[in-house]
């Protein structure tokens, strides 16, 4: 078996690791879909407040391709539709009924699956609202079904703090996972299941399915990083990928013909008082997970990992692609007196300018920026950590200068949005965010 060793990257020394314990949460009273956090889609609302929906009723479709729809995660009544800035649809909230009704979709028997026509399979996934779980590099929009991708990368595990562990969400679902892989193999000539090379915690039956091992610091697990290392020609740039847990959702839909509901979520981070996995539903309110399980005070609710996740709150719901809630102190107060001159035994830094470099324990993290905005001082740290060998400081400059071609040459589209360059920058330049925006603009420009 092949192991990909990735040298560049960086691991945070962050505490608050989740245990492998799983607790089943009571059924939530409300569920929601968050179109705002699904990249690139142009949602058209298909429901109105007060309307009754079943589990699996389409809520929105994408104006760019009306066959791509997002379905209701539960049955009940549309309670709220919340709009944000410029009427972006933020949340579609469903109040659940006690007796939930579910839409019935086509189910495909395991014996049929291996010979099931590709086109019909795609239609079944589209109808079941789960096509967007399969995403396409480099922009991470949902996959373009009319193309055949060079490969599909299935990612098991994540090195980002903190994400659900594959040995937890796959436990007892091995055959469902295999079913899902069989379905994916109908879509692409190659399906690579990627797991960490320290992944001996996977049950035997699963480790035999793994075709690529990765090792190295965060974000060695990222499909974009793996693709960067395995690709040999530009044709392979448009690979597809899907998260390990999402393969289970897909398999559930196709096997049972019902819209899946179960989701294993991890609650972790230094400000969480209980850190473990929770079995709950897609679109669960964050408060259902965090209430009574977090410290008091100004706590940031991060949906997703600490580096790449987005800012939520205990008033929001879990996003379509997310399966982690990480809690961290907000850090919105001034630093300690003359902290500039202190050795900093517990202050994390990629550089060697704090004595914490000698501290092997967990360090103290919060969401403070820890410095003022300055011009680039050419320290080179950003280039040292970038897992895909971009020179973020130069790519950044070419973006600011409006030189799109030059930034592409620099590998703009290889960027996996890991956020490490912004993390390490002493001048506090928003490198990753700038690169991200440039990619989005380029993509939108291109698909016009």
């Amino acid at each position: 078996m092949k192991t990909i060793r990735i040298a560049k990257g960086y691991n945070l020394q962050l505490g608050g690791r989740p245990s492998t314990e799983v607790e089943s949460l009571p059924e939530p009273a409300r569920l929601a879909l968050l179109p705002e956090h699904i990249p690139f889609i142009k949602p058209r609302l298909l429901v109105a407040v007060g309307q009754t929906v079943r589990q699996g009723t389409p809520l929105i479709e994408d104006k760019r391709n009306a066959s791509v729809r997002f379905l209701s995660p539960g049955g009940g009544r549309i309670a709220e539709i919340n709009f944000g800035h410029r009427r972006v649809i933020q949340e579609i909230v469903i109040e659940r009924d006690a007796q939930e009704q579910a839409v019935a979709f086509e189910s495909i028997a395991e014996s049929e699956l291996e010979t099931f026509p590709r086109k019909r399979l795609i239609e079944a996934i589209l109808a079941g609202g789960l096509w967007p779980l399969i995403r396409q590099l480099p922009f991470r929009d949902y996959a373009q079904m009319e193309l055949e991708p060079p490969m599909i990368i299935v990612g098991l595990g994540s090195l980002e703090p903190f994400q659900p562990l594959p040995e937890v969400y796959l436990a007892g679902k091995e055959s469902l996972f295999e079913y899902g892989l069989t379905a994916l193999k109908r879509l692409a000539p190659q399906v690579h299941v990627c797991a960490p090379d320290s992944g001996d915690s996977l049950p035997d039956r699963l480790s035999s399915l793994v075709s690529l091992h990765y090792s190295g610091p965060y974000p060695a697990h990222d499909p974009g990083v793996i693709l960067y290392r395995v690709k040999k020609s530009p044709e392979e740039n448009r690979a597809w990928y899907i998260a390990g847990q999402d393969v289970l959702l897909l398999a559930h839909l196709l096997k049972t013909g019902t819209y899946p509901t179960e989701r294993d979520i991890v609650l972790a981070g230094p400000s969480a008082t209980t850190r473990k996995h929770f079995r709950t539903r897609l679109g669960v309110p964050l408060a259902d997970i965090t209430a009574g399980r977090r410290e008091e005070g100004d706590i940031r609710h991060i949906e997703g990992g600490v580096l790449s996740g987005f800012v939520g709150s205990d008033q929001t719901y879990l996003g379509f692609y997310e399966s982690a809630v990480n809690l961290l102190p907000e850090g919105n107060r001034k630093g300690e007196l003359l902290g500039l001159f202190r050795p900093g035994y517990r202050r994390p830094s990629y550089s060697r300018t704090f004595i914490s470099k000698l501290n092997k324990n967990d360090l103290v993290y919060d969401c403070n920026i820890h410095g003022g905005d300055r011009a680039c001082i050419a320290c080179g740290y950003c280039a040292q950590v970038c897992p895909v060998d971009i020179l973020p400081q130069f790519a950044y400059k070419s973006i600011l200068a409006g030189e799109v071609e030059e930034s592409l040459e620099h590998g703009l589209l290889d960027c996996v949005e890991c956020g490490l360059c912004s993390y390490v920058c002493p001048s506090k330049i928003e490198l990753a965010e700038t690169l991200h925006r440039a990619r989005v603009n380029y993509y939108i420009e291109q698909s016009k």
């Binding site: 945070l12 480099p138 690709k231 040999k232 020609s233 530009p234 740039n237 790449s308 996740g309 987005f310 800012v311 961290l328 850090g331 919105n332 001034k334 630093g335 007196l337 003359l338 902290g339 500039l340 001159f341 900093g344 202050r347 994390p348 550089s351 060697r352 300018t353 704090f354 919060d366 969401c367 403070n368 920026i369 820890h370 410095g371 003022g372 905005d373 300055r374 011009a375 001082i377 050419a378 320290c379 080179g380 060998d389 020179l391 400081q393 592409l408 040459e409 620099h410 590998g411 290889d414 956020g419 490490l420 912004s422 993390y423 390490v424 920058c425 002493p426 001048s427 506090k428 965010e433």
Partner: protein, 394 residues
């Protein structure tokens, strides 16, 4: 809230929007953030950020320079007393040194800070701490006899022409402190060259006592006539290898002690602030070129050609330039291989300028400025090569 924090809070309103000194906010921010890191939090991914900021980065360079100040104060005072035939009692020597160095530092910082604040206010950005490093470096490169007004002029030139007209720290391609130093050299050669400027004379003297050598080692090595060899000429003037290493000889205020420069360079390299490629490259370039000249020097030619390359490292401010000026990340080469080349050529040019240009005894400053100009080209070539290796993704 502590007392100091309250104090800043009470001042803050005058500097914020609508306050009396609103325009001077960069000044306030710069001072306040020395005491307290700001309370700003992230608004987008990544949610967490490194604790290192530019302030700490630059502060550590200044920490590395402090021993040079301590040494410089002592050396300036000590030499002044020796040359003037006064007692070399430690307290008296230090007092004389302080009387020379402190005003220079104060003037440099006041003038430098003034320009930086002015540009920050006009451009509406925060004050960059690169300034504090430039202002810490600049006095160390000057002769102790420099008039204060010249120091003020020099740092002004360095900050304004060397940095601000290019857009400020991060956009400059010359080292500001060196730019100011070079300007002074060309504008006021009388105060920056010759044997007389490197030692102060006290007690109304206008010539040193007889036993005192005021010629710098570089001057001696450069003017030795064909008959003697440069090394013995140095030894005759009392400049043994140890003296040169420790730095107790006439020269710029803080640049003579090669030993301290090595300590400082190692300190900065361990912290990851100075890049080892540049420092090692510089030293290698200097030694290799010195050695090469030894090999090709014909019998009976310029004795300077035959000087043991180690002397080049020990004499004058070469190591000071390598450790603190060449490693300025902004004006140095940015790419790894380019850094080697950049360093090596600085070392080589330092020797060549010293040996072949008698009008300019110390070559390191010009060598660094010259390579500052070429660094972008080196980077450009290396980046082009590197980008060719990528699998295109468009």
């Amino acid at each position: 809230m502590g007392t100091i924090e309250k104090l800043f809070e009470s001042w803050r309103k005058h500097f914020e929007n609508g306050g009396r000194f609103e325009r001077w906010y960069p000044f306030f921010e710069s001072i306040e953030s020395v005491f307290f890191a700001p309370a700003r939090v992230t608004e987008n991914a990544p949610n967490v950020r490194d604790h290192l900021d530019v302030k700490r980065f630059m502060m550590l360079v200044i920490v590395a320079l402090l021993p040079h100040y301590a040494f410089g104060v002592y050396n300036v005072g000590h030499l002044a007393h020796l040359a003037s035939g006064l007692s070399t009692d430690f307290g008296a020597v230090v007092f004389t040194g302080l009387k020379t160095v402190v005003p220079l530092v104060v003037v440099t910082y006041m003038v430098g800070f003034f320009w930086e604040t002015l540009f920050a206010v006009v451009r509406k950005h925060e004050i960059s701490e690169g300034l504090f490093v430039s202002c810490a470096l600049f006095p160390l490169t000057l002769p102790p006899t420099i008039p204060l007004w010249q120091a003020a002029l020099g740092i002004s030139f360095g900050i304004v022409i060397g940095k601000e007209i290019f857009g400020g720290t991060g956009r400059n391609f010359l080292n500001p402190a060196l730019t100011g130093r070079a300007f002074l050299y060309f504008a006021y050669p009388a105060q920056l060259s010759g044997d007389a400027v490197w030692t102060q004379l006290l007690a109304g003297r206008n010539a040193p006592v007889d036993a005192f050598t005021s010629a710098t080692p570089l001057a001696i090595a450069a003017v030795t006539d064909r008959l003697g060899d440069a090394q013995s000429a140095l030894a005759d003037s009392g400049y043994s290898i140890t003296t040169l290493l420790v730095g107790t000889y006439p020269g710029s205020i803080g640049g003579t002690s090669t030993l301290l420069c090595i300590v400082g360079a190692v300190f900065l390299i361990i912290l990851g602030i100075a890049n080892y490629r540049i420092v090692v490259g510089c030293v290698a370039g200097l030694l290799a070129t010195g050695f090469f000249l030894n090999l090709v020097a014909p019998e009976g030619s310029l004795p300077y050609l035959a000087v043991n390359p180690i002397y080049h490292l020990l004499m004058g401010g070469a190591m000071f330039g390598f450790a603190y000026m060449a490693t300025d990340p902004v004006s140095a080469a940015h790419m790894p291989v380019s850094k080697w080349v950049f360093g090596f050529l600085i070392g080589a040019l330092t020797v060549l300028i010293r040996v072949f240009n008698p009008a300019y005894p110390e070559g390191v400053g010009l060598a660094i400025l010259f390579m500052n100009l070429f660094a972008p080209l080196l980077d450009h070539i290396e980046i082009k090569i590197r980008l060719k290796k990528r699998v295109p993704n468009v």
